[in-house]
Structures are given as C-alpha cells and as structure tokens.
Symmetry: C2
Subunit: 146 residues, 2 copies
C-alpha cells in the first residue's frame, strides 16, 4: 500500500469529505452532497439509467421519499490516494422508513473516483450497486449483508 | 481535465492494459485477465456476493458457461490518471451464446481503480453492475442500452 502510506494527509482529507457527505445524506441535504461533486461528475446509480450527470433536484426528490432522517453508515472503507487522483470503495448500509410506511434496509457497494481540483478533493465519479441473482429470477440482490 | 492532459503516457498504458483484458475475456483466458490484478484486488461483481477477492478458478468456470468466444466491447471509456493512482469508467457490452443455447446480451457499468506497482499499472479494484428497477419488481435492469 505504498500510495496510501505516502499520502496520510490526502487520505485524511478524503475521509473527512466522505464523513461530510454521510452527514448530508443523513440530514437529506442535497446541496451538502452536491458541493463535493466535480462539474463533470458521472453517476452510476442504484436506479436506472445506466449513467447520469449530477442532479441535485433528483436527489432532493429522492430524499423526499424518506420519512424523517436516513440511517446511513460506511463499512470497510479502503482509500487509495495519489497526489491528485484517488479512488475508494466500501460497503454501505442505508435504512429508514419511506413516506408510504415501507421499511428500507439495504447494503450496497460504493466506489468513488476523486480528483484534486484547485487544491480540494472533488468526487468525479460515483458507482453504487447491488449484484443480481443469475438464477432466472434476475432479481437485484437487495438482501445481502457483509 | 488537468490530471488527464499531464499524463498521456499513463493514460496510454492503461488503455493498452484494458485492451489486453478485453482480448483475454473474448478468448476466455482467465490467466490473461488475472495477471493484471494486484495481489489485494477487490471485486464488486455482477453476481453475488457483495465483495470477492481475485478468483481465476471462478472466472474459468464462468468462461466455461459460454459456447465459443465472447463478444465484448467498451464504450465511452474515461480515464483519470495521476502519477501512481488512476481510475476509469465505461459502459460495456457482452454478448454471446451460453452452453445451454441461451443468448446473452448485456450492457453494464464498469469502474476500475488502478495503482502503479513496480512501474506497471495493476487493477486494484473492479466494480461491475447494472442498476435495478425500484418499482416493486426489484428486477436487475438487464435490458438497458446506452
């Protein structure tokens, strides 16, 4: 892990960025998430389409489907940081109650690609997913746990 | 895209690595894929579990479920390369005939995290997925096209 040990400051900065995004998601603050995205942010989201640009309005609309705050945690975060390019991956857990009363409880995989822009780390790319069962059902594997 | 324009050689090296992996997949050569993986490779695959280590035997077994060669192409590849850390993302298309005669034709999202190890780029992390329909069916969105 040479790249990691050489860059403790950048790793700490990225960890702080992720903590800030986590708190913004818990508080359903779309602007607090979007401010960490680069202008050319590319999103591979849990929901279709295959690829999307940054869309704070869509994030706001999605936050509005949750009743109260969202419970959100990051596990097994691995950060690989160079001088001005970095990526990280983790297993993330999101749970809470939707406005229709349904309980959501989901573990998913998260990968971030980051670039230092004007001295600050920005998220250029985000990829969130669950795998799917290749057994004929083709269902999303929303019941997995780490 | 400062990081990209400063590193044309590294971007070309990563592009060549991806071409080599592509050819290995088309030829169903598990060793030809695995040689590009770092020792601590972490895989977020299309199929469960959430996370896996490198497993050339599992890749070999999966290749054996295809009849003949696999048709495989990469579209909209974006590479962000620093001195020793890089990531890239693309939309990938895989098609062919399985041994049971079933036709497979799938577009998925691919994100790679890379690190330079001993002067050579290695894939440290790979994340492949399709999104899923959040409409109650919870089906994997295997019918999307870019």
């Amino acid at each position: 892990m040479a790249a990691k040990s050489r860059k403790p400051d950048d790793e700490a900065l990225i960890r702080a960025l992720i903590d800030d995004v986590t708190n913004a998601i818990r508080a359903k603050d779309a602007g607090g998430v979007a401010k960490h995205h680069a202008d050319d942010f590319v999103h591979f989201s849990l929901a279709p389409p295959l690829r999307a640009a940054a869309d704070p309005k869509a994030l706001d609309a999605w936050f509005a489907t949750w009743r109260g705050t969202i419970s959100y945690e990051t596990r097994d975060l691995s950060i690989v940081a160079g001088n001005d390019v970095a990526f990280c991956h983790s297993l993330n857990h999101m749970s809470g109650v939707m406005t229709d009363g349904e309980q959501t409880d989901l573990w998913f995989r998260l990968t971030l690609g980051l670039r230092k822009v004007g001295g600050a780390w920005k998220i250029v790319h985000e990829h969130e997913s669950v795998p799917f069962y290749m057994d004929g059902s083709m269902k999303a594997a929303t019941d997995l746990k780490p």
